[in-house]
Symmetry: C2
Subunit: 413 residues, 2 copies
């Protein structure tokens, strides 16, 4: 039975805080060349795209949300269908997150901090409105669909993720925000560690129960907010936990996720601390990142894969990436613009559809506009990360970064 493994390619650096590299993640459903951008398929669909269109973007794997699929259609139904990949007709590698982020970010306070779009204000701490409550055992939460009450624990998250059957699954962690106190962060990291141990146990139990199915790989999630000592300790503790499990003849972590509160300014520093402590032979996933400058920073520090809803969400509102920065196609200026979105970038959408046509589709509320812009944005983001990979292999990472960043952010200067 194939288990997940990682082959190291070319290293960009191996000094402190600088662990960028190329590599290959081998999964039971195929390989992922890293660094790689992984599109999000929240409810078992990359919104508006068929699997053939997802493939057309260059995507190597897709990531679904355990929380959403648990609520709708239900993890048992996905299980009966033969797992999330078969359910959604995607034959390549799949990821599911643990559901922790979604479950806990239901709390009003969390939402306000995490979306970054809302300012901290008078609503903070309205406990009555909070839709999630954390205790040592797990989290109680309320469904966003019908208000029904539910409970996630590390064990339940593992059971759900085994029902969903993705190749790469994540440990159930507690989410904190930059608003939490240092002492709360300490307590939370310790709790996340205890939950990680419970995840490993349940993961081994579920793996044994489901013998014969493709092996799923559990990845530990590293928290610790902006604190160097907490991040390093959390990483070392999780690696030790995994090693102990393997030494005991059980399965450990097949890779690691870097989660929690990351501010743009210290993103690279934090990923660097974590990668200082991580073994070279395990892949590292950075959750929720897609801004081009962040991608360069995170890859340089040592992250291998990324997921983010931004490229697809932006596309559904008519926002598109170009080599010279973002455009919003709904603007009146594109009414008679018969050029492609970015003719230099090229690709299926820029070569076949004008900005005027795409603008028309959005103005007329035609869904095809969303589909085409989603194909474009994912193609753009995936090719960017593919180019980063090629630049590491070719020894011109810094040159590529300077060239790309100089154009993409030129308008902002």
């Amino acid at each position: 039975m194939t288990d997940l493994s990682f082959t190291l390619g070319t290293e960009l650096g191996s000094g402190p805080g600088r662990h960028g590299r190329t590599g290959t993640i081998h999964t039971p459903h195929g390989d992922i060349q890293t660094p790689a951008f992984i599109p999000v398929a929240t409810k078992a669909t990359v919104k508006t795209l068929t699997p053939e269109q997802i493939e057309q973007t260059g995507a190597q794997a897709i990531l679904s949300n355990a929380y959403h699929l648990y609520l709708q259609p239900g993890a048992d139904i996905v299980d009966e269908a033969g797992g999330v990949g078969r359910f959604e007709n995607w034959s390549g590698p799949t990821y599911t997150d643990s559901g922790g982020f979604q479950v806990m970010s239901q709390g009003v306070g969390f939402q306000k901090t995490l979306t970054m779009e809302q300012k901290d204000g008078q609503d903070w701490g309205r406990e009555k409105k909070s839709m999630a409550r954390v205790d040592e055992e797990g989290v109680d939460f309320v469904s966003f669909i019908d208000g029904s009450r539910h409970r996630f624990t590390p064990e339940i998250s593992m059971q759900i993720q085994h029902q969903l059957g993705a190749d790469i699954i994540f440990a159930f962690d507690e989410l904190t925000t930059l608003m939490d106190t240092r002492s709360y962060q300490e307590a939370s990291v310790e709790r996340t560690h205890r939950w990680a141990a419970r995840c490993i146990d349940e993961h081994n139990r579920q793996t044994a129960l489901r013998e014969g199915r493709p092996l799923q790989s559990l990845w530990g999630v590293i928290q610790g907010a902006q604190y160097e000592d907490l991040r390093r300790q959390a990483t070392r503790d999780l690696v030790e936990l995994s090693d102990a499990s393997v030494a005991a003849g059980q399965r450990g972590f097949g890779g690691y996720g870097i989660g929690g509160a990351l501010e743009k300014e210290n993103l690279g520093t934090i990923v660097g601390w974590v990668c200082d402590e991580l073994p070279v032979d395990k892949p590292r996933h950075l959750l929720g990142i897609s801004e081009p400058d962040d991608i360069f920073t995170a890859v340089e520090a040592g992250a291998d894969t990324f997921d983010c809803v931004a490229p697809t969400r932006l596309a559904r509102r008519g926002g598109v990436y170009t080599l010279d920065g973002r455009l919003n196609l709904v603007n009146a200026g594109f009414k008679r613009d018969f050029r492609g979105i970015d003719e230099e970038f090229g690709g299926y959408v820029s070569e076949n559809y004008s900005r005027a046509y795409l603008r028309h589709l959005f103005k007329a509320n035609e869904f095809l506009g969303m589909t085409l812009c989603t194909i474009h944005n994912l193609s753009f983001m995936i090719r960017l990360v593919d180019n980063v990979r090629a630049s590491i292999e070719g020894g011109y990472f810094e040159e590529y970064r300077a060239e790309f960043m100089g154009r993409y952010y030129a308008k902002k200067k």
Copy 2:
């Protein structure tokens, strides 16, 4: 310069009221094997599908609405883009309707009768709410988008349809309903005839103005409601008008549309009257038909092509065709139904997606559900008409009709 022509294939019959046949319509953008179902691309998009997906359904041509494109994005913009086909990235044959139906069905009274979903009732005749007013010159109407006032005349419809640049365009006709009196129908048929003459003149003028562009073919539209004498006279008059134009060295009608109020019970009879009077060497389009029993009836009577929004509209609500009749995938009964929509019918959607997955997509408001059901329904309707064509060529039309109808409508018995 290629002009539209029609090659007769196998005749199903040539007795009174029975003019079914196969054939080929040759257009500057390719051939259409008839009988053929033509999907509707109202606003220059077959809702939710890329051109590659449209092609995948087996569609040979698509039909857009002059009224919608005139209002949004504007016929001038489509013209600048190089015509509707290039605008929407569809390289095959294209049709546009004249806009007459949409303009005139804005009137409250018309809507109530034409949609068939609303009962005639107390709102009938609320003149204040009517959004369209017909006079000898043309029609005043109000935009459904912003309430702005507009006017269509036969000349304006021709100018717009030349800007849109479809291969097959339709004369601007007056729409009547089954509610109108016999005397109004008579007057209306006469007016439609005068408008047809103005359309031919303007069509010839526009063709001369746009020398070098692919030749567009103007089709006359036959009205006359349920009256045999009116239908026959309208047809003979239009054919005579066309012949006179050709005799005068001008272009005439390249084909004919059969429009207006058609009740299910007399559909075949009316198409039969019209086809009794039409020349064999011109193609005939029946507007707005897609019910399978109507297709068999209309083909037998002599119709060559059909368009209808029903297969795509139904798909966007989760309604799908199967060989055993319609299903609505949103029903709870499909929650754990892991079969394809119709495994005997097969095709891309039934072979790759379960009813349970499609139901999930609709319940979760995921647009991909609409896309997949649209591909399925168009594939179903197009293959049905393709099979009808094969059955005429193979000499087993009646057997195929009995077999298909026996299963498709079995549940209704």
